[in-house]
């Protein structure tokens, strides 16, 4: 079974580039011969709902790697969230188009019956989303760790 891995974010907004940067490093460093039983394809997404729906339509297993702002957690911490849970925190689609993101993509995909059977969101706790390219050291290191551990990453599963 092939897994779709989506690195989501904006490389020009500091740590928001964590997802795409992880995707690029994984592609350049992953030794497919050593892990022949793990097949995956890698895509990048700017995080818009429509891009995500378009990417994961037809896929059974999807992993999305994204940055997360959470002041209660240390930057660089790696979390795993079940993307299929019904109680994901949601800014309603009724706010501006700036808010058309991952959560809205999940909600709309569920209604349209195009949600993957398995959707994992791997979130890297970010330090800053300031303008400009370049990751903070903690996020940069977290990405390296994630790439080294792939395809068996170690992370904290978020229950709520």
């Amino acid at each position: 079974m092939t897994v779709l891995l989506i690195g989501m974010g904006n490389v020009f907004r500091g740590d928001d580039g964590a997802g795409p940067m992880f995707a690029r490093r994984l592609l350049s460093r992953f030794n497919a011969e050593e892990h022949a039983d793990f097949e995956f394809e890698v895509r990048e997404s700017d995080g818009s709902s429509f891009s995500l729906i378009d990417l994961w339509r037809g896929w059974e297993t999807v992993m999305v790697v994204d940055a997360l702002i959470d002041a209660s957690r240390p930057p660089g911490q790696i979390l795993c969230i079940d993307g299929l849970r019904e109680d994901l925190p949601w800014d309603p689609l009724s706010v501006s188009t700036h808010a058309f993101g991952l959560i809205e993509a999940i909600k709309l995909s569920r209604v349209l019956a195009v949600l993957p059977k398995k959707l994992q969101v791997i979130a890297i706790v970010a330090e800053s989303f300031a303008m400009g390219d370049g990751l903070s050291p903690s996020v940069d290191q977290a990405i390296d760790v994630l790439v080294q551990q792939w395809p068996n990453p170690v992370f904290q599963t978020v229950q709520r």
């Binding site: 818009s48 429509f50 309603p92 689609l93 706010v95 501006s96 188009t97 700036h98 709309l108």
Partner: protein
């Protein structure tokens, strides 16, 4: 009846829903009268006109594209045509055609996003597109498919879906091949049928009974439904080249909003005017051929659509037209080695107006002998439409005074969404004046 006995009502919407960007609305009613309407935009000013100072004119397309993630092509087109006008750069017809194809892509994806995800839920009684999709899944899928076809054009010709990278002063950095463009045709042909069906669908919505005569301003071309070329024309008699824009329009600072209002200098009553699909249709409907032209007749749209709630129908027609135009340009496209023409820098000033999906977008640049910008002016469609949107509400509400407040509030929001405001585009201006009045009201909503 004494003044104190007259009932007053205030409608406050702290965050306008289903618009691009962040804004709010305040309406004060006294009896049957609308005392005040304020479309409050509180998205922070973004200072693009200042950012451009000291930069090369060659950078203007890439810098201004960042003003908007939904309509970056419009900014790139207004920028390149403005700079080329100032430097007397003439691009050959194939480059004009490819630019028009790129603009078609943006019209398709922007209009589809608005029609299906932002505006249609209003007419069907849903709070948002996700709720609407539960009962109208196929319609939402149609919207996604149409949007995707527009994005495919932008991705191929522009080099990237968001903030395209292939546009430059003088032409393009690289050209798609005829083979690559032909691969889009099937997708566009399928999108065309869906767009026609969707336009017929929205034409059957229940529209509030409201007609208003307004000053309409759009480009008018001599041979096409305009996107990037034409003179600036109004239904009130003026007809001018882009270089006379500043003689007819001015931007004014309004205390309760971070976006400037653009008004007609010579018009009585405040100078409000409207750009966008309703204006384009009224001024250029004779250039809607093919299936788009057939639709205007079969749907009995008439020569002017005066009910702003029916803008959703006109947007549907423009989607159909843009898809047909895209197919036409692709079918005539021939591989060419000329991606761009040379650009010789010199001191000067250039300006241009093009038709963003939401309406007229004006750029003006002043630059030195090295092409370094000393002054820039950008007037986006939402700045131009703000006053007209407020006037819509002033004239609309008296007929619906008897409605419960929640329904009136929804009607106000729907009336704003008629014009698909792009708030991020509107908040770009150079000057920020601090005073206690300007900062008042942000927490007063």
């Amino acid at each position: 009846m004494t003044k104190s006995a007259i009932k007053t009502k205030t409608i406050k919407v702290n965050y306008l829903a289903r618009v691009e960007g962040e804004g709010a609305l305040l309406v004060r009613l006294r009896g049957q009268d609308v005392e005040d309407v304020q479309l409050k935009i509180f998205e922070p000013p973004r200072f693009f006109e200042a950012l451009l100072r000291g930069r090369s004119v060659m950078e203007a397309p890439d810098i201004t594209a960042r003003i908007c993630g939904i309509c970056p092509i419009a900014y790139q087109m207004s920028a390149v045509y403005a700079v080329e006008q100032g430097l007397d750069v003439m691009v050959p017809p194939p480059i004009h055609d490819l630019r028009r194809l790129l603009y078609c892509g943006e019209w398709i994806e922007s209009h589809a996003l608005h029609l299906f995800m932002l505006h249609a839920p209003d007419f069907l009684g849903y709070p948002d597109a996700v709720a609407m999709a539960k009962d109208h899944a196929q319609r939402v899928e149609h919207g996604l498919a149409i949007k995707k076809s527009g994005n495919a054009i932008v991705s191929l010709v522009g080099g990237r879906e968001i903030h395209p990278i292939n546009v430059k002063v003088g032409g393009f950095y690289g050209l798609p091949s005829r083979r690559e463009l032909n691969l889009l045709k099937d997708q566009l042909s399928s999108a065309l049928e869906i767009a026609i069906a969707s336009t017929i669908w929205v034409s059957g919505f229940d529209f509030p009974d409201f007609d208003r005569s307004v000053v309409l301003v759009a480009l008018r071309s001599t041979d096409e439904y305009p996107m990037a070329r034409g003179r600036i024309v109004s239904n009130h008699g003026f007809d001018l080249p882009a270089k006379e824009f500043d003689n007819f329009f001015e931007e004014i600072h309004v205390p309760y909003t971070t976006a400037l209002h653009s008004v007609v200098k010579t018009e009585k009553g405040g100078g409000a005017y409207l750009t966008g699909p309703l204006a384009r249709y009224a001024i250029n409907r004779q250039w809607l051929h093919g299936r788009a032209g057939e639709l205007t007749r079969s749907l009995n749209l008439g020569s002017v659509v005066t009910n702003p709630f029916k803008s959703i129908v006109v947007r549907g027609i423009e989607i159909v037209h843009a898809i047909e135009e895209a197919i036409r340009i692709i079918e005539l496209y021939e591989d060419t080695a000329i991606a761009s023409v040379g650009v010789r820098l010199r001191a000067g000033q250039g300006c241009a107006a093009t038709e963003a999906p939401r309406g007229l977008l004006y750029h003006r640049y002043t630059f030195d002998a090295d092409g370094i910008i000393s002054d820039a002016k950008i007037v986006p469609p939402t700045s131009q439409n703000q006053k007209s949107i407020e006037d819509d509400l002033r004239r609309l509400l008296p007929s619906f005074i008897g409605l419960p407040k929640s329904q009136m509030t929804h009607l106000c929001e729907q009336a704003i969404r008629n014009h698909d405001p792009c708030i991020s585009c509107a908040t770009h201006f150079l000057r920020l004046e601090f005073d206690s009045v300007a900062n008042d009201g942000m927490g007063d909503l």
